[in-house]
């Protein structure tokens, strides 16, 4: 049954796979989905599947999807009643959320003051500490601290140390510093990146834990004061702090540890009076100690693995909460089943140090089969431009247990056909098939420690011989024997192939 909501026309202020996923979800609920399209995105997949589109002139993110004021003006002029920000872009921009609230447009996400509080990693940490949620040791002095103070603070925390942007997220504006003489460069470059990505260059320091796991909890709150946790996602497989593979449940948690972490996540959510979907991120060391990292006040990239194990549509829940309704389930009704894994398929060349790859998708054939979900932002024929994030799709699989899910993911990655841009599917597959990953021994330094090759089987001599044979194979179409017979039937011949045939036999 489709619930009655106080809004019908929803603008999706995003692009790529998350815009596609949200637009589909809106249409599933019979709402009007309105897409935004920059100049390079006029023919993009999220525009093709929307009910309406609003054009945003310009190409770069700064000129288009980050233009909060312009988007709100366009929304008002077009009768938009609610805005879903997706992830990235304006999703964690408190000013944008507040401007929506002021303009009388429902912002589908948490309240702007909660976004502001959690967007400031320094304030967030202080709030969590006060709520008895364990936090990582570190230093966050004031923005005007002189350099000698920062240097001695870094020494006090101890090297290696993490340099992080106060406004950061998704690995942007974050640097690992091994020794004191690298600190200045890392600090400046993180500040520069943070300024360009978030418009805020404040930096803080955090103790760097050796081989930790990244384990996060999905939380959900409503305006009636209900808070739920939807269990964990392990996102330890990262390259330069960017998540690549996520899974749930985490192979590192037993039910005792899971209960303690879930309790901390719920405490964190209650401390902020959290509403809508959010994620409480922790790092977990080898002895079962966990520390609060940050709260992501948005629907995360990796939300589908939670959707598959708890059997719920989290976008639908976001819409219900935004409409002022209570969460549809109680904590006891949420029972995760089986195992889900997500791989992020990115246009990055593993053979060239993961340099972003642009181009035209000559072939794009996602894998199929039971319990496979592909959230694509592109289709065959799409252009992958230099302007936006290189993620093409999220490949998500489910199975009753972890081994079966890994086998399914390995198969699906092999079946994923992408030609036109370099991508990381086979690189991801060599992680999925790696004995240490199979054994559940993942940590955030996994890729550095195991030196995963970019393209494992490319030097297989049989594949090379086959490729040469295929290149030398006839240029004209040869049909399967049974189709040749059936096409002799006059009714099945198109005039074009028929004329070819006559010419051949002329």
């Amino acid at each position: 049954m489709i619930p009655k909501l106080p809004f019908r026309k929803v603008l999706v202020a995003n692009r790529g796979e998350i815009a596609v996923r949200i637009i589909r979800g809106l249409r599933d609920m019979d709402l009007e989905a309105v897409a935004l399209a920059s100049d390079p995105d006029q023919a993009a997949e999220h525009v093709r599947i929307a009910n309406e589109v609003i054009f945003l002139p310009g190409a770069s993110s700064g000129e288009t999807y980050l233009q909060g004021q312009k988007i709100i003006e366009l929304a008002k002029a077009n009768g938009i009643e609610a805005i879903h920000p997706g992830y990235g872009f304006l999703s964690e921009n408190a000013d944008f959320a507040a401007a929506c609230e002021q303009a009388g447009i429902i912002f589908i996400g948490p309240k702007s003051d909660v976004i502001r509080q959690m967007g400031d990693k320094v304030r967030a940490k202080a709030l969590m500490q006060a709520a008895n949620v364990p936090v990582v040791p570190g230093w966050s002095g004031d923005a005007n601290a002189d350099w000698s103070e920062i240097e001695s603070a870094a020494k006090a925390v101890g090297f290696p140390v993490l340099v992080k942007a106060a406004a950061g997220g998704g690995g942007k504006g974050m640097r690992l510093v091994q020794n004191p003489n690298e600190l200045k460069d890392a600090w400046d470059s993180a500040a520069r990146e943070a300024q360009s990505a978030f418009g805020d260059s404040r930096i803080f320091l955090e103790k760097y834990l050796d081989r930790p796991r990244h384990v996060e909890f999905q939380i959900f709150g409503d305006n009636q004061g209900n808070v739920l946790q939807l269990f964990e996602r392990e996102c330890s497989i990262q390259r330069r702090h960017q998540k690549l593979i996520e899974e749930t449940p985490s192979p590192a948690l037993n039910w005792e540890l899971r209960a303690r972490m879930a309790d901390a996540a719920v405490k964190a959510a209650k401390a902020m009076s959290y509403t809508s979907a959010g994620t409480v991120e922790f790092i977990l060391d080898g002895s079962g100690n966990f520390y609060f990292l940050e709260v992501n006040t948005r629907l995360q990239v990796e939300h589908p693995i939670t959707e598959l194990t708890v059997g719920q549509d989290l976008l639908r829940w976001q819409l219900l909460v935004a409409a002022g309704q209570a969460l549809p389930l109680t904590q006891e009704q949420i029972q995760p089943r089986g195992h889900a894994i997500e791989c992020r398929i990115c246009a990055e060349d593993p053979e060239q140090n993961f340099m972003p790859s642009t181009g035209h998708l000559i072939l794009y054939r996602p894998p199929e089969g039971p319990f496979i979900r592909v959230d694509s932002g592109v289709r065959e024929g799409s252009e992958v431009s230099v302007y936006y994030d290189p993620m093409l799709a999220k490949l998500v699989v489910w199975a009753p247990d972890r081994d079966a899910a890994l086998d399914r993911m390995s198969r699906a990655l092999k079946d994923f056909v992408i030609v036109g841009v370099a991508h990381n599917a086979m690189f991801l597959r060599s992680i999925i098939d790696h004995p240490a990953f199979r054994a559940g021994d993942s940590h955030t330094h996994f890729l550095v420690e195991h030196e995963i090759p970019g393209k494992p089987a490319c030097d297989n001599p049989l594949l090379q011989d086959l490729a040469l044979a295929i290149a030398a194979a006839p240029k004209q179409t040869i049909q399967p024997a049974n189709e040749q017979n059936s096409s002799a039937h006059p009714a099945r011949i198109s005039p074009w192939t028929a004329s070819d045939r006559w010419r051949n036999h002329g």
Binding site: M426, R429, K455, D459, L466
Partner: protein, 180 residues
């Protein structure tokens, strides 16, 4: 007999392939390195096809493939999740006395953009002496920073770009004067 070069990390010598269609979809390929391969080409269309190879046990292993002719000399083959790039080496008539172009792998003094992007920051100025590995320029592409470093020890001869310029893949960013 087309001569093809297959681009992988290990093999770089061009190989000639001779394709012969035999009866009942069977084909045989002979390679200039002495190898042969026999199989069946079940079907082939504009972009895709299916080959099978006999196993010792009597069944056949199937290899679905995609074949994209990127241009007149480059073909992309998708097989078993891999993409292999094959090129037909151009046979340019060598003019007597003409100086052959620098062999690949030798730096030609031009620093090129390996990817399209925006120039974020210049880290050197003309006249600077640089060592191999010295960071020269930071490009931003797809919201990520890429630092280009000097391939060889040299001196910065000239810089052709300014911060915030948009550069295409392959465009020359700097001239480097290599030490003799």
């Amino acid at each position: 007999m087309p001569e093809l070069k297959i681009h992988t990390s290990s093999q770089t010598d061009p190989v000639s392939v001779d394709w012969r269609s035999l009866e009942a979809d069977t084909f045989e390929t002979q390679y200039s390195n002495g190898k042969t391969l026999t199989g069946k080409l079940h079907w082939i269309s504009e972009k895709s096809g299916l080959i099978s190879l006999n196993n010792a046990a009597g069944s056949s292993k199937v290899y679905p493939f995609y074949r994209i002719n990127e241009n007149s000399t480059t073909t992309l083959i998708w097989i078993e999740g891999q993409i292999l790039t094959l090129t037909q080496p151009r046979r340019e008539p060598r003019r007597a006395g003409a100086k052959s172009s620098a062999p690949s792998g030798v730096f030609d003094g031009k620093l090129r953009a390996p990817l399209p992007g925006k120039v974020l920051r210049l880290l050197v100025k003309p006249g600077d002496p640089i060592e191999a590995g010295t960071p020269l320029v930071i490009l931003e592409s797809m919201k990520m920073e890429t630092t280009l470093t000097a391939p060889v020890a040299a001196e910065i001869e000239s810089i052709l770009i300014n911060p915030n310029d948009l550069v295409d893949k392959g465009s020359v960013l700097m001239h480097l004067k290599t030490k003799p």
